[in-house]
């Protein structure tokens, strides 16, 4: 009797345990089913590399959006990655552990702030600053990059802190015993040991930046044109979906799902790369 109950419990739990992977498959299936016909009809190359986006005329070239997404993401990485890694090093190596214990949750709070709030602050504070001091429309690639740079800080800091914290203390002590200063120990020994975790944090943050929608839609402006400078307004892949989804039907909607396919593939590649690195590190240690 008991043994049978156990068997049933195990079966049910197995089915439940498959929920995450089946959801993933379901999502992939429906996004691809809706999105690939347009790509096939137009030809993948034309879809990805032509600059004509005119839903009324049935022209769906997403090259300007790919470029906009790339610029915004790279900009965000240039701002967020150095700041985040610096913060992680400082909090781990140069201040007492109690400070880390107080500051880390505070920084994780930054991750909890809704992206619409970031977007709003970008519109109200950052865009006017850029317009008045650097020129251009204000709502621009630069504004989006700065806001996204701040938004990815928690991801970078949190994972990098864990990676640096996981470096055995004996490495530190060994370096210091040889007469190295704290900073020498950090950049000669600790950063090398924590390298893979830090790289993973940057890749994961990149995935977040490419996928971010609401903040970007508010601060990047709304121009489907190839950007020429960081002060130009632009529309990213995600913003296009969010902008046009409400009114799109038929082929137009399929094209938006096709953008979803492109995003999905990019993010999956980035994430499997990052988790591969993190897992590899875990199995090594």
């Amino acid at each position: 009797m008991q043994a049978r109950g156990e068997k049933i419990a195990q079966r049910i739990l197995l089915v439940i345990a498959l929920s995450a992977i089946s959801s993933l498959i379901l999502i992939a299936l429906f996004i691809f089913k809706e999105g690939t016909p347009v790509m096939l009809r137009m030809g993948l190359r034309k879809f990805l590399f032509s600059s004509e986006w005119d839903p009324q005329a049935g022209l769906f070239g997403i090259y300007p959006m790919i470029v906009a997404s790339l610029w915004v993401t790279l900009g965000a990485m240039l701002i967020g990655a150095p700041l985040g890694i610096a913060g992680a090093i400082f909090l781990n190596e140069f201040v007492p552990k109690t400070v880390l214990r107080i500051v880390k949750p505070a920084i994780e709070l930054l991750a909890g702030i809704p992206s619409v709030v970031y977007g709003f602050i970008g519109v109200m504070v950052l865009a006017p600053l850029i317009r008045n001091h650097l020129g251009g429309p204000g709502l621009s690639i630069l504004a989006a990059a700065v806001i996204l740079g701040v938004m990815i800080l928690p991801t970078v800091i949190s994972i990098s802190t864990d990676a640096i914290g996981a470096v055995p203390n004996s490495y530190r002590e060994g370096a210091l015993a040889l007469g190295a200063t704290r900073w020498q120990a950090v950049h000669m020994v600790i950063l090398k040991a924590a390298r893979s975790g830090i790289i993973a944090s940057i890749i994961l943050a990149m995935g977040r930046a490419i996928g971010e929608t609401m903040a970007v839609i508010m601060v990047a402006g709304n121009t489907v044109k190839l950007p020429h400078s960081v002060l130009d307004s632009a529309r990213t892949l995600t913003a296009t979906i969010a902008f046009e989804m409400a009114s799109a039907t038929g082929r137009h909607r399929e094209a938006l799902f096709a953008i979803g396919v492109v995003l999905f593939v990019i993010i999956m590649l980035l994430n499997s790369f990052a988790t591969g690195i993190l897992r590899g590190r875990l199995t090594k240690s």
Binding site: L13, A20, I27, V103, G112, I121, V150, G207, T238
Partner: protein
């Protein structure tokens, strides 16, 4: 020999790193202070508990408050049993192997998917194919998938932190595996599970892209799970984008930030109590 002594380099490095850390914290402080400073002027009981008028240009945010409460609840009602069940299976009912690797891979991938993709999926699957329309249920199910990885991960971590000896004692008293899980493992992992739940609620409250395409943006109070709702985040986005009322937008943002702050502080407090009890 470099032109700055190691001691000097050390001083410069600490200065630069410290400045970067300080900048990060100042940005956090600025965001919170800015929103609260502008929003607290609008905030009142009246603002919280009256209906919006004229599409949110005037009046309060009551229906969005209800939407913001109901949507995470619905999402949790689905995701919590699935997430905890998965974690229990992974930790107590199976050995590490190809299947657990597949499940973990699925969880990791799901965690990385951006919310706009969840929105697209929810729209085509729940809203269109299952013919639910924009409603509480479609939004809740979409969010449930979104928070599933968080629940699985935090629960798994919490379960792994329960000492093995607890299980051995339970087994030696003749308890079955299931009884051990329900009576020994899960109660001891509870604070960790609650942490995951709070994190998930936070994500649901802050979510916009996945919600707007699945739950819609109706300003009426929902009568059933098949009615459309508008959450605070969606409301804030619509107010801010259409520039209809900066005052009400700031007020809504203040409520959002305060809810997130409260959630985070209580999660932090809970985790500390948990760690304190373990030590």
């Amino acid at each position: 020999m470099s032109w700055v002594s190691p001691k000097g380099t050390q001083r410069i490095a600490v200065g630069v790193l410290g400045a970067a850390t300080l900048a990060t914290l100042l940005v956090l402080l600025f965001i919170i202070v800015f929103v609260l400073e502008k929003g607290l002027r609008t905030l009142s009981w009246n603002f919280l508990f009256t209906d919006p008028q004229n599409m949110g240009r005037a009046g309060g945010i009551f229906p969005t408050l209800i939407g913001t409460l109901l949507l995470p609840l619905l999402a949790l009602a689905v995701a919590l049993p699935l997430g905890v069940g998965t974690a229990v299976y992974l930790t107590e009912y199976t050995r590490e192997g190809r299947l657990t690797r597949l499940i973990r891979f699925g969880t990791d991938c799901l965690a990385g998917i951006p919310s706009i993709i969840f929105g697209l999926f929810g729209f085509i699957f729940f809203v269109t194919i299952l013919k639910m329309g924009w409603c509480l249920l479609a939004g809740g199910l979409t969010l449930a998938i979104m928070i599933l990885p968080t629940i699985i991960r935090t629960t798994e971590e919490a379960i792994r932190a329960v000492p093995y000896s607890y299980r051995e004692v339970s087994f030696s008293l003749g308890a079955t595996r299931w009884a051990t899980v329900v009576k020994v493992v899960l109660p001891n992992a509870l604070p960790g599970i609650v942490t995951g739940v709070m994190l998930s609620i936070g994500r649901c409250i802050g979510e916009t892209a996945a919600v707007i395409f699945t739950a819609g943006s109706s300003l009426h109070l929902p009568g059933s799970v098949f009615d459309s709702v508008r959450t605070m985040s969606v409301h804030f986005y619509i107010l801010a984008r259409e520039g209809v009322s900066a005052e009400n937008a700031y007020g809504t943002a203040a409520v959002l930030i305060i809810s997130i702050l409260l959630l985070n502080v209580s999660t932090y407090w809970l985790m500390h109590r948990f760690i304190g009890r373990r030590a």
